[in-house]
Symmetry: C2
Subunit: 241 residues, 2 copies
DNA sequence: CGGATCGTTGAGTTGTATCAAGACGGGTGG
DNA sequence: CCACCCGTCTTGATACAACTCAACGATCCG
């Protein structure tokens, strides 16, 4: 399991020993079909899951059958650490593509975190990173136009996929429909379609099937007002202290 | 300092002993004038601050001088715990009214967290609570109408003020202008004004100066689709494990 | 080949923003 | 104590971004 869990270390940097311990804590793997939910709001899971392969998202349902995707997950991400920290989930986690997950029981995680404060802080930082991304999304959805919002989201996804080595030099594959892009940006699927067309016409991106090509990274960044700072918590911050 | 820090224990439940230790860690208090910033995005603070008295908010600035408030803080809240966990701030924290803060140096916090895993997890849960509120705001701003958004926000603020004993039976005092409500909900100040008028006409709330009276809690909750679950992480979850 | 899902485009509607002007109210200085 | 001023609230008129509804085309898959 170690080499799988090691993936996590790219995103939430762990020492080799810490990665090994987390890997030992993972008892098994499990799979998820597209559209299948891992957990629902209100659930009290007894294990955490690391996304080893595939793409997932977190989402909330609001009145009127509307859906808001609040985060996209990439391989290496902890999907439901909140279940460990807070007890109950307050959002759903669903698969966007076939997914493979590592399962880490809460009991094992608790033992690890108690015995190893440094590892606990690393996981704590992961929660803080989630919070930072949520915060950026509040600003994205609240104060940017549709055109800016989608540009910003594409920048974020590209940056995160690059961090885990899953992007190409100028683009990435991503199994997300326009309707889901709408659920993530608070827009209608129809409007997402028009805005994507605009971004394409402006020479910023190209779309082929499920692959996104970024023709002008600087342009896209400028449009979205994207600053990657919030995605890069300083891994050595507490170690230095 | 203990009786001041104890306030924190109402919101992020701490044992008496833990509250005492945190109180000992706080070296001094400081004050903030309205509109004054405690920290800015990019800062690397060397201490955390507990809001003892007054009201503050966290906000981001996006292109075009637009502002998005991403969270309101009430007395008892940790304002900049992210500075400790992540290293650098990625949002600003500003005072809405005159504020009194307790100052806890990162060095003291690190020592406390290392020596006391249970206290560390309590603080970790505080980060998770912040994340849960951000996530709810993403859904609020992304998928609710102006009318629903403002109703939901008022429900949240009332609930949180009730948790720390600062609400009246059916209302609360809150030094927030309509322009700031707009910055928090992603709306213009003019539109906030119209929607508040609508909520008043519909018999849900009344406003007098800076005080909010809730005439129909059930109505307001129904309109906003408000479920307080995300504000109430189970404090005993990890203790039981 | 048929059905399902997703993308695309058009026409019309609506929610919310913007601009502008005036009313109110609380503080300050004369 | 009054006059003034500044920030805030309120209201109206107009503009526009984004939504909805609807139809059709393109793919993919069984």
């Amino acid at each position: 399991m170690h080499h799988l869990i090691r993936k996590l270390s790219r995103f939430t940097p762990l020492s080799t020993e810490e990665a090994k311990r987390l890997g030992d804590a993972a008892t098994r793997t499990t799979r998820l079909a597209p559209e299948q939910d891992l957990v629902r709001a209100g659930d009290r899971p007894d294990a955490c899951h690391v996304l080893l392969d595939g793409f997932a998202c977190r989402y909330k349902l609001v009145a009127d059958a509307k859906r808001q995707i609040i985060a996209f997950s990439v391989p290496g991400d902890l999907l439901d650490l909140d279940g460990f920290v807070a007890g109950a989930m307050n959002y759903n986690v669903g698969a966007l593509s076939p997914c493979t997950l590592a399962v880490i029981p809460h009991t094992a995680l608790l033992a690890l975190a108690s015995a190893n404060p440094r590892l606990a802080r690393t996981l704590w930082r992961d929660t803080a990173l989630d919070a930072a991304i949520f915060a950026e999304w509040v600003a994205n959805v609240g104060r940017r136009t549709a055109y800016q919002r989608i540009a910003h989201l594409l920048c974020e996804v590209f940056t995160r996929l690059t961090q885990v080595g899953l992007a190409r030099e100028a683009g990435f594959d991503w199994p997300v429909t326009q309707a889901k892009l709408g659920d993530a940006t608070g827009l209608s699927d129809v409007h997402v379609n028009r805005v994507l067309g605009e971004l394409r016409r402006d020479g910023l991106i190209r779309l082929h099937g499920r692959s996104v090509l970024i023709d002008s990274w600087d342009g896209l960044r400028a449009v979205g007002g994207f600053d990657p700072g919030y995605l890069c918590p300083d891994p050595d911050h507490l170690a230095r202290a």
